[in-house]
Amino acid sequence: MGMTFAEKVLAKKAGLSSVKPGDIVTVEPDRAMSHDNAAPISKIFKSIGVEKVWNPEKIVIILDHAVPAPTDKHAKNHRDIRKFVEEQGIKYFYDVNSDGGVCHQLFCEEGFALPGHVIVGSDSHTCTYGAFGAFSTGIGRSEMAAVWATGQIWFRVPESMKIEIEGSFPEGVYAKDLILKIIGDIGADGADYKSVEFTGSAVKEMSISERMTLCNMVIEMGGKNGVVEPDDKTLSYLQGIAKGDFEVIKADPDARYEKILKYNLSELEPVVAKPHTVDNVSPIKEVEGLKVDQAFLGTCTNGRVEDLRIAARILKGRRIAKGVRLIVIPASWRVYKEAMKEGILETLIEAGAVVGPPGCGPCMGNHLGILAPGEVCISTANRNFKGRMGNPESEIYLVSPATVAASALRGVITDPREVL
């Protein structure tokens, strides 16, 4: 009997010849990623009574959640992290500088997300690194402190599901529409505890950025991890940037899946996740014409150059509607600089956009784009939970970058195919 991707990786890392769903294994992660929550994690770590972290080269800390610090409390938090990094000799630390960015974007750009690696991160969207064939998953602060102290973490070997995707995207439909459609179909717990493998000819055609969008949102259907089999595109992306050795691990052809879903891209249309759950998905047509107060383009889901390029193509030479604010936050400074060189930022600013520094600020209500009560935001983020962007009386609609741009242009929720 063959093994799925998750079974193969976990068996290998646990030193076993085979494992099955339900088995508990203990492994040493290849990397452990944290962001601004490294400060509380460091305090929990110290409470354990261990002097030094297990391996200062395997820990990556990236400041992104509230950068630059919006309050003195956030500033103290960052200060505590810098002090901890210094005293522990943590090798990979990314401060609030122009070589930083949103943790998941930067982690991939810097070549930490590698095929066959087991990666844990103290952030639920750590599942993004599956786009490179890694087994990556989110954990809590105490669990990360325990990893720092012991270099070990337990996993229950997950059941696996496969999502086979064929066909090609129709005009105006993107990877974000696909993943929202899947989440809407199977529900916010449709992949609870499961390992999700994205396969099929369409996935092979997808860019690295599109694969990251898919894997990023696996947590929104409850998945433990999401993964795309590495190919030439993956290896060429990693060429010269991979930090360390890696081994491509692929599911066996005769592996056992609990469920197999099939999608054909040619049948898709632009969709929206309506407030206040990510699986409240419907065709964009159903909410067309709803007035928006804020349009937000950015986050670890859709803040890459490709996403900004899509928006710029729609907004070039046009002006966003009166009464709407367009906030653009590139996912990293590398993205920011590329978008600057390509003239994308100029196009967006000429259209009326406010371009903020790379970071997570508005996505979870920290700063730079908080909503007022009663306001509606159309967003490329991954969550539309009540209160997510700082106010429980506001509403968040999740869509693709094209739909954000089209809606900013008209001031009401708009099908991007009408303005392309």
Binding site: A39, I44, S124, S142, D192, M364, G387, P392
Partner: protein, 165 residues
């Protein structure tokens, strides 16, 4: 181990943002203060009226969303004795155990209780008794996981293992 208390009842997909809002994650660190914000964006009456030992009964996928463990810590700090749900989101399940917050997956309880009912959970027997006289059984947590809960959470458990306690 047994817990007994009044029931607070909520629906499906109760996410980490409504249990503990993201805007407080770097500014509210004190346990007492965290308890005051528990379930703030879902039910503002909860934090004001919750009593030690009270139980939360919820639908499916409780704790979906963020890896923010304060969504477990704040309920424990508010005195919640246990959360009984139809199912739990994976990261929340781990976080709750790691924070020493007992959780029980028992889908049948949901329709049998109302807000304000009394309920008793016997973790050793794997049994829930409601004030209406209904009795439900649930599969006990794996032994490995019970060990973490019995030590009061992951950190005390690790300290014990490393001989630091």
């Amino acid at each position: 181990m047994k817990v007994k208390g009044r029931v607070w009842k909520y629906g499906d997909d109760i996410n980490t943002d409504v249990i503990f809002p993201g805007k407080y994650t770097y500014t509210v660190l004190d346990l007492e203060e965290m308890a005051k914000h528990a379930l703030e964006d879902l039910d503002p009456s909860f934090a004001k009226e919750v009593k030690p030992g009270d139980l939360i009964v919820a639908g499916k996928n409780f704790g979906c969303g963020s890896s923010r463990e304060q969504a477990a810590t704040c309920l424990k700090a508010a005195g919640v004795g246990a959360v009984v749900a139809k199912s739990f989101a994976r990261i929340y399940y781990r976080n709750a155990i790691n924070q020493g917050l007992p959780i029980v997956q028992c889908p049948e309880v949901y329709d049998a209780v109302e807000k304000g009912d009394e309920m008793e959970i016997d973790f050793d027997k794997g049994e829930i008794r409601t004030s209406k006289g209904d009795v439900f059984s649930f599969s006990p947590l794996p032994e490995f996981v019970r060990g973490i809960l019995e030590d009061g959470g992951l950190i005390p458990h690790i300290k014990k293992k490393l001989g630091k306690s």
